[in-house]
Amino acid sequence: MEYLLIIISAIFVNNIVLAQFLGICPFLGVSNKLSTASGMSLAVCFVITFATVVTYLINQYLLEPFGLTFLQTIAFILVIAALVQMVEIVLKKVSPSLYQALGIFLPLITTNCAVLGVAINVVTKEFTFGGEAHMLNLGEAAVYAFATSLGYGLAMVLFAGIREHLAGNDVPKAFKGLPIALVSVGIMALAFLGFSGIV
């Protein structure tokens, strides 16, 4: 039951893009086409889940016992950069077709603040899912990270669909490009506000 609450909360109520403002740059950058948007979501989904589990373990067994939590930021970003590199190498060997499909998006994920944001959030923030506030355990952290990245994918794919329609419309000159995209995201976020209070 609690896992279900985590999933619903992470995907709809606290959507990472529309409510938490993480990962906006790639969200605006690659949502021009549906195909690239889904490729990017897939890569991000993979890295967020993986990175959160690894950084969670590093924090618990390395940084905390030695009183080094102030090094969190540096340690996490290095882990994420290394992880992205590793995923790239493994994918290249194991599944060249997926590697081809993700292409340039893989290296870009290092600087996607959604990855670092989720990793830092799960080790520093207390969460309330139905029950009382508590720090997440490893299983909850993994589910939370996975659900969050699904929310990222959902927002990305929905928005790419909207943007493909926008491209064919006659938009006033000053609104062309990003401004109209931002206004559309605003309306989308307004719609997602409707989910607040469910969990």
Partner: protein, 194 residues
Amino acid sequence: MANKLSLITKGLLKENPTFVLVLGMCPTLATTTSAMNGLEMGLATMFVLILSNIVISLIAPVVPDKVHIPVYIVVIATFVTVLQLLMQAFTPDVYKTLGLFIPLIVVNCIILGRAEAFANKNGVLDSALDGIGIGLGFTLSLTVIGIVREILGSGAIFGWKFISGDGILAFVMAPGAFLVLGYLMVLFNKIAKK
């Protein structure tokens, strides 16, 4: 001299990081719930930007090309950690309000962007000035967005309430951030591109 001055002023309009370069969107949208928050976030980013620009311009000639991105990221992350510790010690309230977005300065593309586009091929003084200029531009845009959102959302400006009542709550919440930034960008396009 005029040349040096233009390094500082270009960030305000011509190369404004928010409205022209469109970088660092996450903190721009997330922390501008009020004018004060926007101002503080801008200053925090400027602190890291200036210091990392200085150090990167110094070490750039000796860093091998293949590993330059990881090296730059470590330099930036170091200054972010310094900033975190300083803020926890001297301005704990501000640190708490800005929360997650202080450590996330590491992945703010403005900082890595300036390192790549400017600091690694210019001298120390020029890089420092570039950091000040872009930092000021970022601070200015964040403060402006914060002012607009604060007026619409809570009828106040820098905490000084001049309209009684609650204001339009949506502008303090997520949708307002996107809408205000979108419309300010339209305004900027209208004025700057005439």
